[in-house]
Structure formats: structure tokens, C-alpha cells
Point group: C2
């Protein structure tokens, strides 16, 4: 049988157990030009929350009754497609379901001998690509600059900071809790990390970089974006990648009150969506694979098991109870 997690209703605020239903149906049969993918791992990302809202965004919302959208990786178990053979490892937008029959559009083959499968939906997947293009193309970091990253222990932030270190920047992270901060500094090599749950972020930022920040990579929005705005240097670039603190708001999003710091400092705040860089994913994967092989870029996945645990695992995105890239193993 094929277990699928479908969107049952549009959540207001934080999703609940009723937001999705787990359904079982027959494993799909493939037609000419299709292959059947057994999906082993799915990626859990904060952006998924946005896809559940019935609002204009960079991709259409998931419809009620549809399989929940998610990045995935698995193995071809049956094929009538000329380019995909049984045994191929394939990643793409497979959604939260154990099997999918597809014509291969939006899927591509990867080599799980070079890196473990979960890494292809983490550092070598969308989160890693987001970090790579966000900090290099939008943040435009230069050697010697000071970079601030929120969500520093997360799938995107951890890669952002490591790339900035590779490029010769001073890197300060913001993360929730002493364990995450320790991980960010000791394992990932950030120069400092501010524990927003236990420290005064304003003072922490000032202490870590008294001259301020040239680039702020924002994954969280809210208060932290506002504080970061007070600490930017002249000609600073703020990369708006996400706003996890605001995704489950029942009221309107908190706008950055200190946005006029952009004027004082001739700063710029730019939104980014990773899909815009698809044509350069190959180069990015090569570079990041090389850095991983050289030990300069570490990838950490936090893997849970069981498609029936989708909801409780999803919650970890927002309650902070995870370390690194959140992944769910869904094959049995």
C-alpha cells in the first residue's frame, strides 16, 4: 500500500493534528514514459507552512485534498522511462507519500555513493542551494566582511555561515539554546553565536561585532530582524530568506519598525527564492560537494522515522526541537 499525507484543511496559526490526514491507497501503476519512485526520505522545511496558505506566493498553495508538498529522495523501483532505471536514486518534489508515479519532470538523479541520500535533500538540496545563492548572489559577501545569520543551527543558516567562513568573513550566528550555539561555534566554526532564548540579542550583537554587520541573512523575521537592523553597517545587504517567527501568526506579520536604518545606512533588503537559480544548481552542488570532501562544509541531518509521525516531526520546525536539517524517513 501507499501511505499519503494530504492537506485536510487550511490551518489558522499553528497547524494541528487535524490539518492533515494519513490515507492509504494502492501503489500507483506506471504508464509508458513514467517510473515508480519509492520515496525513502522527505525534507521538512519552514517554507511548507507558507504553501498551506491560500495566498499568492512564489508557488501555488497546496490544495485541500492534495498530497502535502515536500522535497524527497528515493529509489526507482519500476520504470517505463528511457532515462530512469530501476535502482536509480532520484530526488525532487515527491510530496509526503511513500510512492509516486511520475514522468520525471522536476526530478533528477543523484549519486548516493558520493553523499548519503538525506544530504541530497539538505545541504546538497533546496536548503543548501538557498544558502549558497542567498549568501553569494544576494548577500554578495566579500572577504573580510562581517556576516550575521539567524536560524544559525538550521538547514539553511548553518550552510550560510559555513560558506561565509569559507569566503573569509567573520560570522556571527543567532540560535535558540546553548546546545545549538555550542554546535554552531564548535562544530561549524562560526566566530560567535547569540542564544536568543537566554541572551539579550541587542547586547550580544554589539559585543560580537562592535562595528556592526555588512550582511544579515534573515530566516526568522520579527524582533530579531528589527534588532539586526539597528546593527547594520553602511551599504549593508539584508537577505530576506524567510520569517519563521511569523509563519504561524494569527494576526498580521510584524513589520520591521527599524527599516529606516536602511536609509541611514544606504542598506538594501532583498527577498530571494531559490527556484530562480535552478540553472546554476549544478555548479553549486559541485562547489559544495568539494567543500564537504575537504571537510570545510559540514552537513547534519536530524532524521525521524515513520510517515505516521509527519505531524509531530513537522512541529519540530517551529518548536526548535531539532538540530540541523529535519528529515523524515518514510519508507518502511
Amino acid at each position: 500500500m501507499n501511505k499519503q499525507v494530504k492537506l485536510a484543511m487550511r490551518p489558522v496559526g499553528m497547524p494541528t493534528e487535524e490539518t492533515w490526514t494519513l490515507e492509504e491507497s494502492a501503489i500507483p501503476t506506471i504508464e509508458e514514459g513514467q517510473f515508480l519512485l519509492r520515496q525513502d526520505y522527505i525534507s521538512l522545511d519552514p517554507a511548507m507552512r507558507g504553501w498551506m496558505n491560500d495566498a499568492k506566493s512564489y508557488i501555488p498553495p497546496v490544495q485541500i485534498g492534495e498530497v502535502m508538498r515536500a522535497g524527497s529522495i528515493g529509489e526507482v523501483v519500476e520504470s517505463k522511462h528511457p532515462n530512469f532505471q530501476v535502482g536509480d536514486a532520484v530526488t525532487g518534489w515527491g510530496g509526503v507519500q511513500q510512492y509516486i508515479a511520475t514522468d520525471g519532470k522536476g526530478f533528477y538523479k543523484v549519486d548516493t555513493k558520493l553523499a548519503p541520500a538525506p544530504t541530497y535533500i539538505g545541504t546538497l538540496g533546496m536548503p543548501g542551494m538557498t544558502a549558497y545563492f542567498g549568501i553569494l548572489e544576494v548577500g554578495k559577501i566579500k572577504e573580510g566582511e562581517t556576516v550575521l545569520v539567524s536560524g544559525a543551527a538550521g538547514a539553511v543558516g548553518s550552510v550560510v555561515g559555513q560558506i561565509a567562513k569559507i569566503k573569509g568573513c567573520t560570522v556571527v550566528g543567532i540560535a535558540g539554546g546553548p546546545d545549538k550555539c555550542k554546535y554552531v561555534v564548535e562544530e561549524l566554526g562560526f566566530d560567535a553565536c547569540i542564544d536568543y532564548k537566554n541572551e539579550n540579542v541587542y547586547k550580544g550583537l554589539k559585543k560580537a561585532a562592535p562595528k556592526g554587520y555588512d550582511v544579515y541573512f534573515d530566516n526568522v523575521g520579527g524582533e530579531i530582524l528589527d534588532i539586526a537592523l539597528t546593527q547594520i553597517r553602511m551599504w549593508a545587504r539584508i537577505v530576506i530568506c524567510g520569517a519563521i517567527s511569523q509563519y504561524n501568526n494569527k494576526e498580521s506579520v510584524k513589520g520591521p519598525s527599524n527599516y529606516l536604518s536602511l536609509l541611514v545606512n544606504r542598506g538594501t533588503m532583498t527577498g530571494m527564492v531559490v527556484m530562480d537559480y535552478t540553472k546554476d544548481f549544478g555548479t553549486a552542488a559541485q562547489n559544495m560537494g568539494m567543500w564537504m570532501a575537504q571537510g570545510k562544509l559540514k552537513s547534519k541531518e536530524d532524521i525521524y522515522t515513520g510517515i505516521e509521525n509527519f505531524y509531530t516531526t513537522f512541529q519540530r520546525l517551529f518548536n526548535g526541537k531539532k538540530m540541523g536539517k529535519l528529515v523524515l524517513k518514510i519508507s518502511e
Copy 2:
């Protein structure tokens, strides 16, 4: 005698009559290397409100007891300076005072045969330069794009919109009241104008440009910035030039709740300060002078008289009771 308006106290919220004092003193005597400027006109600009706050900004605040900072234009009446002769028309940061003795730093000569003196502190002065570099260098407008300007009847906004028309854009303005909107469309040639005091701005923006806006030049901040954010197109540029709606707030500035539209649309929001472009002022003045001569760029000054009327004239910046560039004639 020399009448001077000095900052008496730091206002909280809207300045009052007590904010400044009018003082009289002897006309200053000049030393070797100085000249004496009789100041005929001063420029009144919303930015002056920001200079009165004791806060880090792009220039130091005016200190209590100092002459209020203002752009000015006047005539040299005495000179011991090799480069400035009696009779020269000179513009610079003369402040709100009838006479100033200066070594000429920050002042430059202009030709009042080519344009009337008040124009040199308006369209050919800081407001015009702000418009020119803001829309061309920061807004990066291209022919065929749709441009939105708030404060459209003001000193900066009116020039922004006209330059955008000259460059082949569709231009929509936002202004307060039917007279200003009529002026913006009929005299300045904007394609449309939304009267925010009498119209629903959201509906007005949608109607004027159903496909949205490529560039938004923001002089006002607050609600209008928030509404504009909902109407931007992909890859839009928002120029943060000012936030007149927020300058007299007693509480914190209203941040733009809809800033995540930057993410959805890959937009960018950039702050600008005209002083950064000083080296190119000559080119800008040439271009704008040419457009004025060709009748493509209109300049309108709203001139009041009497240094003793500084406070009541200053109020017009914020109560909207003016049309075009606000100027005060201070020579007697």
C-alpha cells in the same frame, strides 16, 4: 542686524513654536578667505525634522542653540575670498539665518540667469538631486516600466515622476487632495494620481496599474508603503527616500507588515541619501536644466516670506498645505 532661527529644544512629536527661537545679532564680519552671504531663500524639507533628533543618522543632529540647518541661496555682499565675488549667487547649507560668513566650504556658485534663485534649492538643488539619483541610480527605471511615487506633488516626488515619464515609464502618483492630484496629472503629466485623503489607495493602485508596479519611490512610509508592497511586480525596486508619515511619531515607527512581499516577488528595498552622489551633481544639473529648457521638467515653488514665519511655514511640510517645493524668502 542678522536674524537667526536657532534650535531651542528637541521636539517630541510635532515641533511647536517653542522648538525654535528667533534671535538677532550683529551681521558677522568676515576674515581673510571668507565671504559674507546675504541669504535670500531657504529650503524647507521634511528631512529637517530628522536632523532635530538626537540620534545616529546620515548627518549629525542640529545641536540645541545652533542655527537650524537648511539649504539656502543668496548673494555675496562682501568678500575676502579669491573665488567668490560680490554679486555672485551662491547656494549651500547656510541655515535659517539672514547672513552667514563662510570660507565657502559646502557652497557653490550658480547662474540665476539660467533659472530663478528658488529653483536652485528645489529642482536644481537637493530635492531635485534626490529625485534624480533616487529614481535613476537606485530605482534603476527602464523604459516601459510602471513607476509609483508617493508625495507626488512634493519637491522630490514631482521630479521623480517627471523623470520617469521622460524615461518612458508609466507613472502613477499618490498625493493628498484633489488639487494636488489634478496638478500632478494635468500639469506634470503623470498617467494617474490617487488622492489618499479621499480614495481607497489599495483600489486606486490596482485600478491605475492592474499588473502592478516595477518601482515604488517612497517618500511617506506608514500605511502607504504597506499598501504599495502588495502591488509590486516581480523584481520590483522600492526606493526608501523618506517616511514623512512617521517623522513626528511619538511612538515607534510603523514597520512595513507586508515586507515579505519582497520575498514572494524577489523585490528589493533600498535606502538612499543624496549626499552620496555629490560628485555627479554637475551632470544631473545639466540634464535637468536641459529638460527644463525643453519644457519636459516643470518646477514649482511655493514661496512664503519672512524669517519670523519660519515655524508656520515649516508646519506646511506636515499638514500638506503647500503645492510644490516649499521655500521661505528670508531677506528683507
